[in-house]
Structure formats: structure tokens, C-alpha cells
């Protein structure tokens, strides 16, 4: 009997030990990012995350740094293989496709007890929701503005930045004639070029795809001659940038790296860019000291691309509670003030610098991508720019081709209205 009691006591003790060990088991959250570890935001984020780990002894944040260009395919491959991280950086263009794949955790319920939500700009939450379901958390705002090397404008005798497309082309010609440098720069390819194209389309009153009464989407340019004409004008604008010498002809094949690097080195006068260029200003203080921020030039109405950059939280993650806690930490005031002082999605983190308030002032004119699977659509947008700039294809033909391609892509993903 004594032996039995001893055995029973030992078993209970062992179970308690196992339970305690289990409770203290460290948790690792896998977090994929795409920061530049040399830039100020990357350095600040690493420091903040280290602080989070210190204040949460049981939690380790396993950060994997991947370039933006590789992040998309790596994420998709990981999702298809059932090996997704707990959370990641990403582009807003991926929201629709990740949602269609059923990869994202629905954060609506968690957000009900999220006290910080009221500090986030309301249209930011809308931009990360589909049909009322919150599917991502806000990371930073990438509002686009016209960045201008004022000294180059002065050297060309121009008193103020251009306000319209026509003024932009005329000013760029003057800058080229007076300074020998190109007046404007674009991203003709890569992830940024669709972001610029959607802005120019919005500035002329047209959108990529509109939500139809059946809840699905359709590009209507081919059904509406007025819209087709407006879209055609956008491609004609691209064409005139090359033909009138407003941009370096090589810009047709530039990605965002060339666009940002050449602007920050003062190789050309104006670019549509984001507040992250403050990092470039820190790297090239001499060449960037004359940079001023103004609204992007437009055709019919002011508009800019409003990048609501998200944190994606994945359904396959094994630690939803801890992941939610970590992601709310990163949208919290302390983290945002340290990492994104100029471009935070929080209304209580603002900056009086030109990289802060001048960009935030443009938010009301911001446009976003429609919440559909955009993988093939953005590729077709890049191709339509290439057809215009590299093949010198007729502007209307390029607009018609893009309209048909978008509807084909929507049909492929099952999102075409009536398709």
C-alpha cells in the first residue's frame, strides 16, 4: 500500500513537472520582413523587437529578412507547402490574393478588444478589410508625393513645381535644356510601376476594376468609350514623357531601385516617391538637402497612391494569441514613434518634418488597389507600360489590351462580374 502511494505521488509529481515544463515552453514566432538593415527604420525595428523579447521572456521573434522582390514568391511557396510564417511584411497588392487563398487569419474578433484601433486612421482599417473582415494590420503608410530638387528648378528658372501633367512635361523640357539633366523619373517596371500607373489612372478619373452589383469586379473601359478615352490619355502621357524628353529613355526599364537611387544622387529633378526617401536623405545629405514635397501633378483630378502597407497574420500560425500580441505591439505608439515617425498609420504619431506632414496632407486624395487577386493584373499593368514605352505601341491599343487582360485575369481568379 505504501509502495502504491509512493508510485501515485511520484506520478503526480512527474505530471506537475511536465505541466510546468510545458507552461514554460518557449514560443518562437516566425516573422518575415523586407527591411534594409542599414537604414534607420530597420535599425530601429530590430532594437524595438529586441526590447519586446526582453519584456516577454518566453517569446523569441525569429526574424527572416528577405528582399521585397523575393518575399512574394517565397511566401506563396511556403503557404502552398504548409510552412508559412506566423506573420510577415507584405505589399497591399497581395491582400486580395492571400484572402482568396484563405491564407490570412480573420482578425475581426481580436480587434474588438484592440484599444489602439481608435488611434488608427479610419480609412486605413477599411483598406485592410474585405467585406467587413479585418484581414491585416497596418504597418506604415506609403503615401506618394512629388519630390522635387528645388535647386534644379531654380537653375531652370522655374518658380514652383508643376501642378498638371502638361506643366510637368513643359517643366521637364526646360530643366533638360537649362541643366542638361532629366526633369522627371518613373519606374517603368517592377513592383512600383503598377502603383504609379494606378495613380495616373485615378488622376484622370478611371479605375482598374469596379465592383459590380453582384459583388464581383470588372474593368469597364471597353464598355464605355469615355473611360477608354481617359485610359488612353494616361498611356499617351507615358508616351509623351519619353518622346518629349521628360525622362531618361532607360527609365522605361527602371525599377524602384534605379528610380530612388538616381533621384537621391541628384541625377534628375522630380519623382513620385514616398516618405521612406528620408533614409536616402540621411545617406546623401548634400544631394538631398534641396528636396521639397508637393502634390503629384494631375490631369483631371488630384490623386495619389495610398499604400496602406500591412502586416499579414497567417491562419496556419501555431500561436495566434502571441502573434496578435506581437502585431499589436508593432502597431503601438512606442514602436511606431521609433520606427515610422513620418509615415505611421496612427493619428497620434505625427511629424512636423517635411517627410511627415507634407505626405500626410495628401492622404485625402489617396487611391488604393481593388481587393482582388492582383498577381497577374499588376504584371499586365507593367506589360502595358512596356508596350507603350519600349514598343511604342498605340496608346489606345495599350489601354484596350490592358482592359481585356484585367478581365481575363479576374475571370481566372473567379472574380469577374458575370464571368
Amino acid at each position: 500500500m505504501k509502495g502504491l502511494k509512493r508510485t501515485f505521488a511520484a506520478t503526480i509529481a512527474a505530471l506537475c513537472l511536465i505541466g510546468a515544463a510545458h507552461a514554460a515552453e518557449p514560443i518562437t514566432l516566425h516573422f518575415w520582413v523586407a527591411w534594409d538593415p542599414q537604414q534607420a527604420d530597420g535599425i530601429a525595428a530590430k532594437k524595438e523587437i529586441a526590447g519586446y523579447e526582453q519584456s516577454h521572456p518566453g517569446i523569441t521573434i525569429d526574424v527572416q529578412n528577405i528582399t521585397y522582390d523575393a518575399l512574394h514568391s517565397k511566401l506563396l511557396t511556403a503557404l502552398a507547402g504548409g510552412d508559412a510564417p506566423d506573420l510577415s511584411w507584405g505589399l497591399p497588392e497581395w491582400l486580395g490574393e492571400l484572402s482568396r487563398m484563405g491564407a490570412l487569419r480573420d482578425l475581426t474578433e481580436d480587434a474588438k478588444s484592440w484599444t489602439d484601433e481608435k488611434a488608427i486612421y479610419p480609412n486605413v482599417i477599411d483598406g485592410l478589410s474585405i467585406d467587413g473582415h479585418l484581414l491585416a494590420m497596418p504597418h506604415y503608410l506609403g503615401i506618394r508625393a512629388l519630390l522635387v530638387h528645388e535647386d534644379m528648378l531654380k537653375a531652370a528658372g522655374l518658380p514652383a513645381p508643376p501642378k498638371t501633367w502638361d506643366e510637368l512635361i513643359a517643366d521637364a523640357k526646360t530643366i533638360k535644356a537649362k541643366t542638361g539633366k532629366y526633369g522627371f523619373g518613373i519606374a517603368g517596371t517592377g513592383v512600383r510601376s503598377p502603383q504609379e500607373l494606378i495613380m495616373y489612372l485615378a488622376q484622370n478619373g478611371v479605375s482598374l476594376a469596379e465592383r459590380q452589383p453582384d459583388g464581383k469586379y470588372k474593368n469597364t473601359w471597353l464598355d464605355d468609350k469615355a473611360k477608354l478615352a481617359k485610359a488612353t490619355e494616361v498611356f499617351a502621357f507615358y508616351k509623351s514623357l519619353i518622346k518629349d524628353g521628360a525622362i531618361n529613355p532607360d527609365g522605361a526599364s527602371w525599377g524602384w531601385e534605379e528610380e530612388d537611387t538616381d533621384f537621391s544622387l541628384g541625377q534628375y529633378a522630380m519623382a513620385i516617391d514616398g516618405a521612406w526617401m528620408d533614409s536616402r536623405a540621411a545617406q546623401n545629405p548634400e544631394a538631398m538637402k534641396d528636396v521639397a514635397i508637393s502634390a503629384p501633378p494631375y490631369k483631371a483630378q488630384p490623386a495619389t497612391f495610398f499604400e496602406i502597407n500591412p502586416f499579414y497574420v497567417y491562419k496556419a500560425g501555431k500561436h495566434p494569441k502571441e502573434t496578435w500580441d506581437f502585431v499589436t505591439f508593432m502597431t503601438g505608439k512606442e514602436f511606431q514613434a521609433a520606427v515610422h515617425p513620418n509615415n505611421s498609420p496612427r493619428s497620434d504619431v505625427t511629424s512636423d518634418s517635411k517627410w511627415g506632414k507634407d505626405f500626410t496632407a495628401l492622404a485625402p486624395t489617396g487611391v488604393v488597389f481593388p481587393p482582388v487577386a492582383l498577381g497577374a493584373i499588376t504584371r499586365d499593368m507593367i506589360e502595358s507600360i512596356g508596350r507603350t514605352l519600349l514598343k511604342d505601341e498605340d496608346s489606345e491599343a495599350a489601354a484596350k489590351w490592358l482592359a481585356a487582360a484585367i478581365n481575363k485575369d479576374l475571370k481566372q481568379s473567379g472574380e469577374l462580374s458575370g464571368g
Partner: protein
Amino acid sequence: MVAGRRRGHTSRQAQLRRLAAYCVTPAAVVILLLIAYPLASVLWEAVHNVILTNPAVSGFAGFDNFVTVFTDERFWPAFWRTGLWTAVSVAGEYALGLGSAVALAQPSRARGVSRAIVLIPWVIPIVVAGLTWTWMLTPDYGIVNLWLVNVGLLSKPFYWLGNLNTALLTVSVVNIWRSFPFYTICLLAALMAIPKELIESAAMDGADSIRRFIYITLPGVKTVSLTLIFIHVIATAINFDFIWVMTQGGPLNSSETLPILIYRFALEDFDVGAASALATMTMGFMLAVFFVYWYATRNPYEETR
């Protein structure tokens, strides 16, 4: 007695067969897991609807995915580009490899060092080589353009990887640069195996160096050459990384080959079925190349024996 010996012999043979089976099993399992399963998976998905962003569409698709591939406006241009990329790359690699092998086979004091130096491009990882060449070729700060302008071959820097007509050829040249050392090593080994007496007696008979090269050297390296060309035709046609690192198939699809198109179907269109159909077709084409090679190099004596 004889029957007992035969029984012992048979049981020893059975033991050896069992041992062989045990030894082969781990390799067979690995092959099944790493080759057969993915291969079967691709074949299965090629005839099924697998669209990641459209879970509503699923099930058996028959030849629909193949129709999707054939009717895609990018397919035929990518097909011809794959042929061009493969032909230019393999021809260039072979010509440069043979030339350098012949040069390195000549007696010289610096032969050992030269043989080591010529290997350098081959040991550089493709991604490193691709990125380095991309930087060297940029119009703004690339050293290649600087040199070409300085020596007067160009009046101003040229965007080699950003032009529709030069992007694929430029990547091909870089691919040749990186791959030719492998040809050099193999062909050099074959050259060294040609008996010196044969070349000397041909010279004594009055054959000049060109005739000796055509009638002795080339036949001497024929088998190695065919094997090299066959391996590299397949490796180049299915190469993804070099083109992706340097141009991502651009600009405007001008360097898009079939492997890049497979990637686009899978990871941009999310149509895994179409990607698998194209991968299956590519695999069929490569098998056809293999059979042509096998037929061309088979030994009729071996078959009839």
C-alpha cells in the same frame, strides 16, 4: 554431391540478391520521394484544375491546362526564345571551351596557373555572377559601359539589359562566360588522351595544323563533345536562375523563356495546373532530345552482340 553444391550455389545467389535488394532500398526510397513523387504530382496537376486564388474551380481538367498554355500569347515567343537562348549559349560555350582547351593543351610555363585561372568563372555562384554582371552592365555606373565609351566603341552608355533587342543576348553572353570553363576542363582531358604519336606521324606525313585539328583532334574529342553538348542543351533550356537574376524575363518579356513562363503561371497567375502542363511539355521535349542523343550515339555492335 553435385546437387548439394548446386543447392549451396543457389542459396548463395539468393543471399547476394537479398543483400543487393537491402543495399538498393535506401537509394530507391530516396529516388521515389525526391524524384518520382514530385514528377507524379506535376503530371497529376497538369490534368487537374489547381488555381490557388480560385478554390471554387477544381477537379479533372483533361487537356484544358494544355489548351490554356497553347493559347496564351506568351507561349510561342517564349518557346522560340528558349531555342535561341539554348543554341547561342551552348554554341558559344563550346566554341570558347574548345578554343581555351586547345590553348591550354600547348606546352607552356604558365600552363598550370592558366588552367586554374580559367576555372574561376565556373566556381562563382550563378546569383553572384548574375548580380555582379548586372551592376557591371548598368548604363549609369557600370564599368563595361565606361570601358566601351573610353575605347570609343560606344558614343554613350547603353542599357544592355533594358533593351528589347539586347537583353536575352546579353544574358546569353554572361551565361557563356560562366559555363565555358566546364567545357574547357572536359575537352582538355579529352585532348590530353589523344596519342601524341598520332599527331606527330600526321605531321611527318605532311598534314598541316588545320588538317591535324580537323582529322585527329576533333574526332578525338567527339564523344566528350556530344556528351557535353547534350548535358548543356538540357541544363540551359531549363535554366531559370540566370535569366531571373539578371532580367526577370524582361524588359517586356523579351528574355522570357519557358522556365520563366512556368514560374509566371504558378506564382503570378496562381494557375498551378497550367504551370504543371507547361512543365510536362518541357519534360517531354527534353526526353525527346535525350532519345535523339541516345539514337545518335548508340553503338550498333553493342546492340547486336
